[in-house]
Symmetry: C2
Subunit: 625 residues, 2 copies
C-alpha cells in the first residue's frame, strides 16, 4: 500500500458512524510536526472551547509524532489528546509501545474521533480499510482480556491495540488510555473522554512501510543508540538494567524522593522499592517499545498474596513513587499490584497514587476518618489500604467514587480544610518530582498547559556542571545554574528547555533517548528531506505551546491558574535538602519574567497577538485581538 | 608566532602613547563573535554615552569578524566602529579588502583606540610588535600616496594599510575609513573619529596563520564558491563580470533606481552609468578582497578631462547611484572622478552624493541659489557641479563646509524649508535603495541602530517566489510575501532577516557571497570547533542588535528617532511602480509590531529588561531597570 511520508489523518464520527480521510500537506507538517501539534491544531480548529469534555463535541485525537514508527529507538511513542475532563483545558499525554508505529505502517498520521457512539464500539483499521465494530462483549473487561479477544476475533496476532479500561468506561477523571495493555497515556484523564465516546478500543494492523527521505541516517542513529548500550554507557545501562525504577536511589540520595504526600524527600523504605530491589525480587524480564534497544520497560510477576500477572508489565518509577514513597508504602509487590490494577482497569498511576496519598495525609490529620473511607484506615504506609482504595476508585464505589474525580475535586466535595493538602496544578495531581531540589521545575508545573507535568519540564538539577550542560549549547545555554536559582537566567533556561521539550512532544521522541539536539535535527531532516534547523525546532515547540495556551484561554483558564502548589513553599521535611523551600516572591518574579519572555498576557495567560504573529499563527482569531 | 583562534585585542591609548593586550576568552567569542559584537561590547563597557564623539573618550574600534582572514571568499571584511559623530549613537561600518585578514594573521582580533594624540601618528603592527609613529609627513596627503609612503618607509610591500584621508583629518562628518586605498568603511562618519584622534593610519603585517578547527570544511566552501563561479552561476557571474554596478539595470527595471533625490525610480541615463557600460568603456580590470574568487571590485581609468587614476579602484553601485542617478548625472567618467576623490580624500560616497542630491533638489526648488553655493549652479544633471562641490566638501570650503556636516545638519543650518527634502534616519543619509519597491526596507531604515542602512536590512522584493524564499526556511520563513506587504507576517520576516544580517556583521561575512545559512553555520563550526546552531546564530544577531540599541538609548536616541524618511510616504514619480508610496498608518503599525516582536520599549526604543535577560545580557545595568 503506497503512501507518502506526509500522510493522512483518519476522522471518525461515532455519532454518525462515518469515517473520512483528512489530508494534511507538507507545509502543515513543517509548521506543527504532529503529536502535540496535531492535538493543538484540532482543538483550536474543531473543538468549541465551552464544550463538555465528556460530550460529543470534544475530539479524541490519537496522533503519531513526526518520527513515530521510524526504525530507531525512541520512535515508538504517540500522543493522545482532547479537551481534558480533569483540567478543563488542553489535554495531551504521551505513550510508548507499538501501537503508534503500527498506525503509521497502516498509512495514518493520526485519528480524530468525534461524536459519541450509542453503544460500545471499537475501531478496526487495516491499512486503508476502516471499520467501526460492536464492542458490547468487551465492555467492562480488563485490558489484557480485551486485547486477547480482539486479536482472536480479528484473526491476527500482530494487531496492535490502543484502549481504555473499565475506569475509562466509568468516566473516572484520572482514567488513562493504554497501548498494548501496559503502556499508558496516563495524564489529563483522557480515558474518560474515550469512555464517554463509548470507544473501547482501536485495533490497527499496517502492512506498509514508512517511507524515509534518508534511511541511511536513520539507520546510523539506530545503530548509534544500540552501540552506546553495547559500550556500557552508564545512563543507558541503568535504564536497561533497572528501567525507570533504577533512578529511584538517585532521587532518594538527592533528597527529592516524594514521600508522604511531599512532606519529605527521603523515604526510609526506598531500598525496598527501587529498581535494583525489583531486579533482585519480582522482575520477570524487560519490555520495550517499538525499535528500541534500551528495553527500559519492566515485567514483573508475583505468586505471593498479591498475585501480580506479567501481562500487565511492571511499575515505572512514577508508579512506584506514587503508590510507594508518596503513600509511605515500602511493599514492592503491593505496589506492583496497584500498577497491575491501573493497567488492567485503565487508571493513571500518578494521579491515582497522588490522590490516595492526599487522602492519607488528610486521614492522618484527622480530617478524614474511617467514616469517610468506607472503614479503610488510610494511614501512611498501609499497603493493603492503598490497593483496596484503588479497587474502590476503579469500581467508583463509596469513597472511591469521590477519589475517582481526582484529588482536587475530592477535596472540594469533602471540604473541611482538606483542600490545602492537595498538590495540583489546573486540577491535575503533581507527578513524582519535588521542585524543592530543582526550583525551575515548579515554574514548569505552574505554567504547563496540561497542568502539573514532569515530561515537558526542566529538571534543572541535571544541569549543574559545565559538562552536563554541554548538550544545551545549541540552545544558547552555556553556563550551569544552581538548583535553587530562580533568576532571569534560570527562567531563560527553563523557557528554552520547555520549548524544546514541546518540540519533542510533536516529534514523538522518547525523552529517555540520548540523542543530542543536533542528532534530533538530523533525524527530522532524514525523515522528511527538509533542511530543518534547530531554530525551527525551538520555534515549532514554542508555536505548539502557544497554541495550547490559546486553547486554555478559550476554555477560561487564566494566568491565575498557573499557580504553583502551596506545599513547595513549605520546607522539605527531611534529607540532605531538609528545609529547602521555594521562596514565594522569587517564584512570583520568575513567573512574571517567564510570561514576558514567552510573550504571554499577564492576565489571560495567553500569547499576545504579536507573539502569535511571530510564531506564524496569524490565522488564529486571537491574533487580531 | 603561535596564537590561538580566540586571540587578543590590542588596546592603544593615544593620549598616553601606550598599548596593551586585552585577552578575550572563548565564551566571549561564542556570545558576541566579533565585528559588530566587539564594537557593541566596547561601546557599552568603555564609552561614556554622553562623550563627544570627536573627543578622547570615544573609542575607535577596528574589529575582525569571527571569520575574517579565513581562507575563503567573503572572509576579507572587518568592521570599524565608534560612537558616531554623524548619528550621535552606535556607529559601525563594514569594509572589505585585505587589511582585516592581515590583522588576524598578525594575531589580533581587533584594535581599540582611545585618547587623542597631540600630533598626527600612525600605528605600526608587525605581529606582536606594536609601535606608534609620527605621521606628520603623511597628514594632508591623499590616501594612495600615504599607502605608498608607508610601504616604503616600513620596507615591506606586503604591509596592509587602514587609513583616513584629509576629509577625516578635517572632521567631515561623512568621512570614511579606508582599507587598501579603495575599500571603504563608509557609513557613520567614522573617519572623523579617527581624524579627531589624529590617527592617520594603521599599518599591519602578519606572518602567522589563523589556526582553524577544521580546515577541510573551510577549503570545501572556498572551493564551492569558486566552482559556482566556474560553473557560470548567473548571480555570481554578474558580480564577476560587472561588479555591483551590474545590478543597476535590475534596479532600473524594477523602478527603484534612486533618481533625483528619490523623486523618481527610473533614470533616463541609466544605461550610460551601469556596470555593463562601464565594462565597455572605462573599466581597466576587476579587483577583489582577501581570498575571494568573485572579484566584484572595479578598477577604472580615464584619460579624458576627468583623468581618473586606477589606484583608487572604481565606483560601486551605491557610488554610481549616489553621484549619478540621484543627482540626475549620466556621465560615468565624472562619477568615477567623484569616486576617486572620495577614496583619495576619505569621504563616504553615499552620504556625500546624497547630500549633494539634496542640495540639488533645494536648488531646483529655489531654496538654494548660487549665492549659497559659491556660484556653482547645482541643477540636477550637472556633473561638473557635483565634482566641484565634492572638492569643496573635502576642503571644507565655503558651501562645502556646510555640506561636510551631512545633509541633515546642512539643512538645519540653512533652514528655509530645506529640511523637508533631506532623506535621512538618525541624521544619516539614506543609501541607494528605494523602499517603495520593497516596503520592509523602510522598517529597516527606520530601526537600524546606525541610521539608514542597506546592509543589515531586508530587501524583501528579493523574496517574491517560493524558489527564492527557499534559503530562508531555516529561519522559519516558508511563504513569500508581496513587496508592499507590511502585515505582521512581513514584520516577522524582517525581524528574522535583520537579526540574521546582524549576525553576519559579527561574523564579518560579505553579504554578496552565496553561502546558505546552513553553510555559514558549518563555517562557524569549522572555524571554532563549536557545535554552533542556527538558533545561536539568530540569537547572537539579536543580542548584538539589542546591545547597539542599548547604547543608542544611553546616547539619548529614542523610539521617535526610528522615523522613516518622509519622502517614501510620497508617491514614486515614474516607472513601473509610479505612484507607489509607503502608507503611513501601515508603517506605524508595522513599527509597533516590530518593537513588540523585538521586545523593545515603545518610548525609549531600547530592549526591555526581560529581553536583555533572554539574550543573556543580564550583566548590563539596563537589565535591572
Amino acid at each position: 500500500m503506497p503512501y507518502g511520508f506526509f500522510g493522512r489523518v483518519l476522522r471518525v464520527n461515532l455519532s454518525a458512524g462515518t469515517t473520512e480521510v483528512l489530508p494534511l500537506d507538507e507545509a502543515w507538517f513543517r509548521a506543527y510536526l504532529g503529536g502535540w501539534g496535531l492535538v493543538a491544531y484540532v482543538l483550536l480548529t474543531e473543538v468549541p472551547a465551552d464544550c463538555d469534555p465528556l460530550g460529543p463535541e470534544n475530539r479524541l485525537i490519537i496522533a503519531a509524532g513526526l518520527m513515530t514508527g521510524a526504525p530507531l529507538g525512541g520512535a515508538g511513542r504517540n500522543i493522545v489528546g482532547a479537551k481534558s475532563p480533569l483540567t478543563g483545558g488542553f489535554g495531551a499525554s504521551e505513550v510508548g509501545g507499538f501501537f503508534g508505529a503500527e498506525l503509521r505502517r497502516a498509512g495514518w498520521d493520526g485519528i480524530i474521533v468525534e461524536g459519541q457512539a450509542e453503544r460500545p464500539v471499537y475501531l478496526w483499521i487495516r491499512d486503508d480499510q476502516v471499520e467501526l465494530r460492536d464492542a458490547a462483549h468487551l465492555w467492562g473487561r480488563p485490558t489484557a482480556e480485551v486485547e486477547e479477544a480482539l486479536k482472536a476475533e480479528l484473526g491476527d496476532e500482530r494487531v496492535r491495540v490502543c484502549q481504555i479500561g473499565p475506569a475509562g468506561e466509568r468516566l473516572c477523571l484520572n482514567a488513562c488510555v493504554l497501548n498494548d495493555v501496559h503502556h499508558a497515556a496516563g495524564r489529563c484523564g483522557l480515558g474518560a473522554v474515550m469512555g464517554a465516546k463509548k470507544l473501547r478500543a482501536v485495533a490497527v494492523r499496517g502492512t506498509g512501510t514508512l517511507p524515509l527521505a534518508n534511511p541511511d541516517v536513520i539507520r546510523k542513529w539506530a545503530r548509534w543508540q544500540a552501540d552506546l548500550l553495547a559500550a556500557g554507557d552508564p545512563v543507558i545501562k541503568l535504564r536497561y538494567d533497572y528501567g525507570t525504577p533504577g533512578f529511584l536511589p538517585i532521587l532518594q540520595a538527592s533528597g527529592g524522593l516524594p514521600t508522604r504526600n511531599f512532606r519529605e524527600g527521603v523515604f526510609e523504605g526506598a531500598e525496598r522499592i527501587d529498581g535494583q530491589h525489583m531486579a533482585a525480587t519480582i522482575l520477570k524480564g524487560g519490555g520495550t517499545c517499538f525499535a528500541c534497544p534500551v528495553r527500559c520497560k519492566r515485567i514483573v510477576e508475583t505468586h505471593d498474596e498479591w498475585q501480580v500477572q506479567p501481562a500487565y508489565g511492571g511499575p515505572e518509577y512514577e508508579t512506584i513513587a506514587a503508590f510507594g514513597s508518596l503513600c509511605g508504602v515500602d511493599d514492592l509487590p503491593a505496589i506492583a499490584k496497584a500498577n497491575e490494577l491501573c493497567n488492567a482497569y485503565g487508571l493513571d498511576t500518578i494521579s491515582a497514587g497522588a490522590t490516595i496519598a492526599w487522602a492519607m495525609e488528610c486521614f492522618e490529620r484527622g480530617l478524614l476518618t474511617t467514616a469517610d473511607t468506607d472503614g479503610i484506615p488510610l494511614n501512611f504506609g498501609n499497603a493493603r489500604a492503598v490497593v483496596q482504595m484503588l479497587e474502590k476508585i476503579i469500581q467508583r464505589e463509596g469513597f472511591g467514587d469521590i477519589l475517582a474525580q481526582g484529588a482536587y475535586r475530592a477535596a472540594q466535595i469533602i471540604g473541611r480544610g482538606t483542600e490545602q493538602y492537595v498538590l495540583q496544578v489546573k486540577k491535575q495531581e503533581v507527578p513524582m518530582h519535588d521542585p524543592r531540589i530543582k526550583f525551575a521545575l515548579d515554574l514548569g508545573y505552574a505554567t504547563s498547559p496540561t497542568g502539573a507535568d514532569h515530561v515537558h519540564n526542566l529538571h534543572d538539577n541535571a544541569f549543574q556542571t559545565p559538562e552536563n550542560i554541554a548538550g544545551l549549547r545549541p540552545l544558547g545555554i552555556h553556563r550551569p545554574l544552581r538548583f535553587d536559582d530562580l533568576s532571569p537566567a534560570k527562567v531563560r533556561m527553563a523557557r528554552r528547555w520547555i520549548t524544546y521539550r514541546t518540540f519533542q512532544n510533536c516529534l514523538g521522541m522518547c525523552i529517555f533517548m540520548s540523542y543530542s539536539i543536533e542528532a534530533q535535527q538530523e533525524i527530522v531532516c532524514a525523515l522528511t528531506g527538509w533542511d530543518f534547523s534547530i531554530f525551527e525546532m525551538l520555534e515549532v515547540g514554542e508555536r505548539v505551546l502557544a497554541m495550547a495556551r490559546v486553547f486554555n484561554a478559550r476554555c477560561g483558564l487564566r494566568a491565575a491558574d498557573d499557580a504553583p502548589p502551596a506545599r513547595f513553599f513549605e520546607p522539605l521535611g527531611n534529607g540532605p535538602l531538609a528545609g529547602s523551600f521555594i521562596p514565594p516572591d522569587a517564584m512570583r518574579t520568575a513567573l512574571q519574567t517567564y510570561y514576558q519572555m514567552m510573550g504571554w498576557d499577564p492576565y489571560t495567560g495567553a500569547p499576545l497577538p504579536w507573539k502569535l504573529h511571530e510564531l506564524d499563527l496569524g490565522w488564529l482569531p486571537e491574533a487580531d485581538a
